[in-house]
Each structure stands twice: as C-alpha cells, then as structure tokens.
Amino acid sequence: MRRYDCMVSLAGLLTDELVVLSLGGSVDEWYTAAPHMRAASLFQQQLGCVTPEAFGLAVGLPHRRVVSLDTDGGLLFNLGILATLGNEQPPNLFVVVWDNERYQSIGGPPTHTASGRVDLAGIARASGVTEAHTARTVEEFAAHCAAGLAAEVPYLVVAKVSGETVPGIRRKHSDGREDKYVFVRHVEESEGIVIMGPSEHN
C-alpha cells in the first residue's frame, strides 16, 4: 500500500477540517495529494509533536474536526500522548499514523515497528484509545477514514505503507514560519477570530 494513494483517498473526504502533519516525504506528498487543504494544513518538521499539537488544536476548537498525520517514528518518539488521549477522549481528533517501518527522511533505517513485534494500534487501544485500528489496503484505510472523521471519540488508524515515495511530486517551498502564518490566517478566516492581531499603539 502506497502512502500517496492513501492520502488521495483521505483528501477526497476533507472539506473544512484542520490538518497537522509530520516531517519527511509525507510533507511533499500531502502538499500534492491535497492541494485544496494546503492552507488548512500545518506542515511541521518535528518528531513527537504532531499528535500533541493536533490534540491541543482540537481542545481549542472543539467544534472543528482535526486530523493528525503522524508517523511511526514520530509516535514512537512520544508514546505518552496515547495515554493522554485515552484519558482526555477528544471527540474531534482523528489520528493517522503512516507506518512505513523506517526513518524514511534520513534514508530508511528501521524503526521499532519493522520487527513485526511492535503494534502501535495495540498500544493505543491499551492506552484507552479504543477505536485504534491497522489498515493494510487502501480500501481498509478509506473505510477507517470515513469512520474516523465521523467518530465522537478519538480514532486512530495505523496505515501500513510501503517505503516508496511517489516520484516527481511538487516540492513545498515554504519554511515553518511561513507555514504557521498561512495556517493561522486560515484558522482566523474560517473561525472568524483573531489569533495574531495588530500591535498596540502606546
């Protein structure tokens, strides 16, 4: 199962959701697979922060569906967030874990999921995220996306994807600061709120 094909499938289901995503090849793939979600996606470059940031966003905007596009390496960096989600039970958070069993952005050394013994969905369930599943085909993945986007409990799907990246996709040129501003302005406009307003005159 290719990650890009899963992304295309997920992108077709998204309209006004907000997305937080992880580093590496998934950034450019998501940028290309979901062009209508570019401003609604916060592109991050950090292990361990993606799902916690998405959770914080979901807490702050409880009426809005938030999607976390995390990775096996990123989730393994901070498994504690699963326990926090298990206790907090955010009803509007859908977590996708792209599990390619490798640190792809640095050339592909294996993560702990490559052994076949570490089950991220199992860890999530044991942490109280009862709707935690593993998908091995695009059809399975699409079904979990539909369920996760409609769920009223935290929903997590581990997508067991291959290590290949789609060749020739468009690269994202912006850095973290520009991405933040674009995302914040999108949230401000779509929510009718001010997050980064004008300075005082004094």
Partner: protein
C-alpha cells in the same frame, strides 16, 4: 506554597486570558494543581512529560485560545526539543510557569541539577524569563509573560522561587 500564592497564580492566569493548563505535577507547586483543576473557566490537561505538554500548548495557540505549561523547572529540560522546533522553527509560542528547584536553600541533592541548568537552558533557547520570589509580583509577571509572548510570538517563562514555594 501558600493558598494566597496559589490565588495570585490563578488570578494572573485569568487576567492573561488563559483557559487551558497543561501540567505534570511537582512537589513545590503541590497545592496549585488541584486548585487549577477546580478553577472555573480553566481546563486542565495532565500530560506524561513536559515536552508533550509544550506541544499541546502550541496546538492550543493555533486555535486562538491561551494555554499555560505548568511544571517543575526540570521539565524545561524535557521540553527543549519541542520548544526549539516550535519556537525557533515556526514562531509558535508557549508560556511556562515553573517552580524553581535547586536555587539557594535547596535541601535535596537530586534537585541541584535543576538549579544549575534552568537559567542556562533558558538562555540557550533565548527565552525571556523572570524569577519571582515575592507573592505580590506573581500576578503581573504572568500577565507580562503573555504580553511579550504574544508580541514576539516566542516562548516566555516565569519561575516561582524563594518563599513563594517554600
């Protein structure tokens, strides 16, 4: 920590518009945590480590609401990676309120490293901070921390030490 100091913290957070508090409890702030849990208008989120709390606070910032990360100053060390990535890499601010373990008067050997490392780590991350040891300065210091964090879009910190926490 006296009830009056706890009250000043809650008043400062309310005045700063904070509605979400992430925390990993410690001993010096012991009475503060249940007080935050019980405070009207403040949602508390217990986290498994302070770095996770920092990342959650970053997400809250992006929603337009205001969060605080409350912890012992040892939690600063656990938070360095997300703080550096979010703050230096993207300009996503986190405001921290921490107890000052390891300063003059510390009587636990295990807390000595917290005092040695806190201010150099804050300096390495270029995080503006204020050490507060007088109860009457707590409230305004918290308000000031938010003013600067939301004009610089960078982290700020308030460390409570001295007789406030002992």
């Amino acid at each position: 920590m006296h009830d009056s100091a706890v009250g000043e913290v809650l008043a400062g957070l309310a005045q700063a518009g904070v509605s979400i508090a992430c925390y990993l409890p410690d001993s010096l702030f012991k009475p503060l945590y249940p007080a935050m849990d019980a405070a009207p208008g403040l949602r508390t989120i217990r986290v498994t480590n302070e770095g996770e709390g920092a990342a959650i606070c970053g997400g809250v910032f992006l929603s337009g609401r205001r969060a605080v990360l409350v912890m012992e100053n040892s939690g600063l060390r656990a938070s360095v990676e997300p703080l550096a990535r979010m703050g230096l890499g993207a300009g996503i601010p986190v405001v921290m309120l921490m107890s000052y373990r390891g300063e003059m008067g510390e009587n636990n050997w295990w807390a000595v490293p917290h005092g040695i490392t806190m201010e150099p780590v804050l300096g390495a991350l270029r995080i503006p901070y204020r050490v507060v040891r007088r109860e009457q300065e707590i409230r305004q210091s918290i308000v000031d921390a938010y003013e600067l964090a939301y004009s610089s879009y960078y982290h700020t910190a308030v460390a409570l030490g001295g007789e406030i926490v002992r």
